[in-house]
């Protein structure tokens, strides 16, 4: 009988924190500046420069730690990780090894197989490196230090996951938690969230772990899932062939669907970690932790439970809306302005999602304000605009966050509710379409649709279709 294997997975997740300035200097963290424009002596490792910790980094790290049930290290330190590479201007990275900021946490995940906890070994703070640009024409490499010193946290899980589904659920959980905290936008594609997968296999029932490999270069949830499946198969094939898994770091090529070895354990560098003498130990008192704890937001699960109780909207809507803190904030703010929850939800679920998809945007990129959405809803409620005009206005609002009241006013899009003017138009339409009138009178109910259309066209869309319908029936 063939052996049954179990996959054992642990994750190292790097998250770029959403601070305005870098971790050890005042340079901007903004993405996309000209090379080496967001730099100073500190983040380019100039002789004589010294790091000073950005307090916001500490606050975010503690907030993530508390949200993932970690114990916070109230006396913590930074350490130097020494290695030579040109993207690392000092040739050491300031990180944490001996006393990381958070330890021993756990998060609950849910998959088709039910709920389980994934342990968090530790979370530590560190600085990002610069970027090397290899010039293909000129035989040289250039380095851009704009990213150097951008704050990161690394979240190291326990080897508690057993499948790609669990890994994705865990990552989603982390992403949602961190986004709700506002600590990062967690975009895998843009690299503000990066995951390395540590994977080993063992026979079902075995107590010891197998030899693990570390997989890098995973830029999407899909790539992670494929890499896990690929690596599981590769390791099983090795064992089945009587060979051994080598402890090594591998790079996943998602286009080819395969990985290749980057370096083995034998090549592993000795990073010669030691406490960073340029930074003083960080002492966090209880009051500081309480302050951060008090600022913790309502997380997704709680929010979903509350929505179910408070709002009469479908569970599916709740799932989508709470899937983005930003969208949930817009939903709640619009409802707070007096709009009916179901109507708000409809605008988000239908038109908003459609436009996001068409523009390849994330819910975090929504720009329109709750005030404007509330105004649009009240315009339709009061029948001041009809639904097709409302959609048109919404699209402009989505793109430019215009005030719908002003926009409708300026563009003259208001529905004409003046019965006199409408009656006149309807009379003209009846006079000009004798054939359709004839058909209707002969019992062809459908003919009235054509007449409604003609009236709407004559009114440039600004009439209330039900009113047109009523008038036509009356005059015919």
């Amino acid at each position: 009988m063939a052996k049954q294997y179990e996959t054992v997975i642990g994750l190292e997740v790097h998250v770029e924190l959403a601070t305005k300035t870098k971790i050890f200097c005042g340079c901007s963290t903004a993405f996309g500046g000209e090379p080496n424009t967001h730099t100073c002596p500190v983040c380019t490792g100039m002789p004589g420069s010294l790091p000073v910790l950005n307090k916001q980094v500490l606050e975010y790290a503690v907030a993530v730690g508390l949200a993932t049930n970690c114990s916070i290290t109230q006396y913590c330190k930074f350490d130097r990780k020494n290695y030579f590479y040109p993207d690392n201007p000092q040739n050491y990275q300031i990180s944490q090894l001996y006393l990381p900021i958070c330890r021993n946490g756990k998060v609950e995940i849910e998959t088709e197989n039910g709920r389980k906890f994934v342990g968090i070994h530790e979370i530590h703070m560190e600085e990002d490196a610069g970027k090397l640009i290899h010039d293909e024409w000129d035989d040289c490499s250039l380095v851009d230090y704009n990213r150097s010193g951008v704050p990161l946290i690394e979240i190291v899980s326990e080897p508690d996951m057993r499948s790609a589904e669990e890994v994705i659920a865990y990552l989603e959980k982390l992403r949602m938690t961190i986004q709700y905290l506002g600590a990062s936008d967690c975009k895998l594609q843009e690299g503000s969230m990066r995951a390395d997968v540590n994977l080993s296999i063992r026979e079902v029932g075995a107590k010891e772990f197998g030899t693990r490999t570390e997989m890098k270069n995973l830029n999407s949830f899909k790539a992670i899932a494929r890499a896990i499946e690929g690596e599981t198969e590769r390791q099983i094939d090795l064992l089945e062939a009587g060979e051994k898994v080598v402890q090594e770091t591998r790079r996943w090529d998602d286009n080819k669907g395969e990985s290749y070895a980057m370096r083995s354990k034998e090549d592993a560098q000795d990073y010669r970690y030691f406490p960073e003498p340029d930074l003083v130990p960080i002492v966090l008192d209880d009051a500081f932790l309480e302050e951060i704890r008090a600022k913790q937001p309502e997380f997704r699960e709680e929010k979903m439970r509350r929505y179910k109780e408070e709002f009469d909207i479908p569970e599916y809507d709740i799932e989508i809306i709470t899937g983005s803190k930003h969208m949930a904030d817009i939903f709640e703010a619009t409802v707070a302005l007096g709009s009916q929850p179901k109507k708000v939800s409809n605008w988000l679920m239908v038109e908003t999602l459609r436009l996001l998809k068409e523009n390849a945007m994330d819910p975090e990129d929504i720009r329109f304000s709750p005030e404007h959405l509330a105004k649009l809803i009240s315009l339709t409620d009061a029948k001041k605009v009809n639904s097709s005009v409302a959609k048109e206005v919404f699209e402009v609002m989505f793109n430019e966050d215009v005030d719908p009241e002003k926009y409708v006013e300026e563009k003259g899009l208001k529905t004409v509710n003046d019965e006199g003017a409408l009656r006149k138009t309807v009379e003209d339409v009846i006079a000009n379409n004798p054939q359709s009138v004839e058909d209707y009178r002969n019992g062809k109910e459908k003919a009235i649709g054509f007449l409604v259309g003609q009236t709407m066209k004559a009114m440039k869309g600004k009439a209330d279709p039900s009113m047109v319908n009523q008038l036509l029936k009356e005059l015919l």
Binding site: G48, L50, F274
Partner: protein, 486 residues
């Protein structure tokens, strides 16, 4: 009075009283540099034009009443491991032979704000690693008292420049004795402040947890005045502390009645030159006669200071010096194949022997498998040494002892036996490990005609007691200087 014989504070007063202009003072000292550099070689860089230009600017500010501090207009020399914007800063190493910083260190900026005229950058042991200034890539500095002898190190250029009248005062840095020992060898006053007193921003690090910038100067009054200018809380340096008790000149009081002075017996044992021992004990006697309570005590752990220091300082140095890789600035080898070959060749050619020795030592003690046995153990001993001093300062205001076991050795004697050179740091090193302030001042001349240094050690942030004790001793001792000057 000859301008060059003036102290820094004396010169500033003369400038203020319009007896001397800043330009006259600057020209006088530049002339002295011109005359003496061939003999002593105190400087790596002399910025003649820049100094004269600064002199004009400072004079204008003094005339306009914008500058009236106790050191306004006084020319100063800066050790070549402190960044100076637009001025070559080499750390006396080939690897930084072309390095011109884009910013100035905080201590230098503070001096400039107070009206200092920067003359140039003084020679030192390469990256401050050495006790003789002989490891410099730019030639050795000679002791102005006798050019056949070393000036001490690593701030040998600064100490020699003060002694030779090639500046009115200087800044040095002290990681294991690098201000106090050359001050002792050159017969000048040097103070290593409490760790955290003076910002390290812009000081090119050797041992970050031990490095501290401090003054080298002609007398205790100058020392107090300089300290008032450079002791500032700097938010750019996390290890810089908020300053209290910085009115150092208020401690210039000729009174040590009731001052409790402890003499560690361990500092007077084997290896101490008898002439040094006699001079130091005589100084203690002088203070006793002036009313101080002087007694001997046992300061434990003294023999552990050297291995502890060389473990910690080398470990930090091995990491601090990683940034010198030939990529962004500094020396890069001419020919190389690939990145790692470029690193290896640039660093092999750019660093001198003593620096390489300490990088290797530091890399070793931090290596996986050795970290606990060496580095971690050294940190534990460091904590114990601090505790031993805490206990001593519960009983004494000041600890008194020698600065170095001998007076300045001859050129070329030390480098052949590095272990012996390291042992020469025995009395100064503990002060850095415990983060304490330590002051070195001349207390005699030996039979070879070389100055002998007295060391006063205080509790953390207690520089004022050191200054008070030193001032009282200086008053009793009387004027001190090279024979040819007097």
């Amino acid at each position: 009075m000859n301008i060059l014989d003036m102290t820094a504070v004396g010169l500033a007063a003369a400038i203020k009283n319009k007896e001397v202009t800043v330009r006259q003072a600057t020209e006088a000292v530049l002339a002295q540099i011109e005359e003496k550099e061939a003999d002593f070689h105190c400087y790596v860089t002399v910025d003649k034009e820049g100094a004269l230009k600064q002199a004009e600017e400072v004079q204008k500010k003094i005339d306009a009443g914008e500058l009236d501090g106790p050191l306004a207009g006084v020319p100063v020399a800066i050790k070549d491991n402190m960044c100076t914007e637009g001025m070559l800063t080499t750390c006396s190493s080939k690897i930084l032979g072309n390095f011109v910083p884009t910013f100035s260190s905080e201590a230098v900026l503070n001096l400039q704000k107070a009206g200092a005229v920067i003359l140039g950058k003084t020679n030192m042991d390469e990256f401050a690693m050495g006790s003789t200034t002989e490891t410099s890539a730019y030639g050795v500095t000679k002791n102005p008292w006798n050019p056949e002898h070393v000036p001490g190190g690593s701030s040998g250029g600064s100490a020699a420049a003060v002694a030779a009248g090639e500046c009115f005062y200087a800044l040095g840095s002290d990681t294991g004795g690098s201000i106090r020992q050359p001050a002792s060898f050159c017969g000048v006053v040097g103070l290593k402040p409490t760790y955290g007193r003076v910002s390290r921003y812009g000081l090119i690090a050797y041992g970050s947890s031990l490095d501290q910038i401090g003054p080298l100067c002609k007398d205790v009054t100058d020392c107090a005045a300089i300290m008032e200018i450079i002791a500032t809380h700097d938010l750019k340096d996390s290890t810089s502390v908020e300053q209290e008790d910085t009115d150092f000149t208020s401690a210039l009081v000729d009174d040590v009645k009731g001052m409790r002075i402890g003499i560690p017996k361990d500092y007077f044992g084997e290896g101490l030159d008898p002439e040094v021992k006699d001079a130091v004990l005589k100084a203690a006697e002088v203070l006793k006669e002036k009313g101080a309570v002087v007694e001997e005590f046992d300061l434990s752990l003294v023999e552990y200071a050297i291995p502890t220091y060389y473990t910690i300082a080398a470990a930090e140095a091995s990491s601090n010096l990683e940034r010198f890789d030939g990529i962004k600035y500094g020396y890069r080898t001419e020919e190389y194949e690939g990145l790692h070959n470029m690193y290896k060749k640039s660093r092999s050619e750019g660093f001198g022997a003593e620096v390489k020795r300490r990088i290797m030592l530091g890399s070793f003690v931090l290596s996986s498998g050795y970290y606990d046995a060496y580095y971690l153990k050294a940190l534990r001993v460091k904590a114990l040494i601090k505790k031993a001093f805490d206990e001593a300062f519960a009983k004494y205001d000041v600890i008194l002892g020698p600065v170095a076991p001998t007076t300045a050795p001859k050129l070329g004697e030390s480098l052949s036996d590095p272990l012996k050179m390291y042992l020469g740091d025995i009395y100064t090193i503990s002060v850095n490990l415990a983060g304490l302030p330590g002051l070195s001042m001349p207390c005699g001349i030996d039979s070879k005609g070389l100055p002998i240094g007295l060391q006063l050690i205080g509790d953390c942030f207690n520089e004022k007691k050191l200054i008070q004790t030193a001032y009282a001793y200086e008053k009793a001792r009387g004027a001190f200087g090279r024979k040819e000057d007097k």
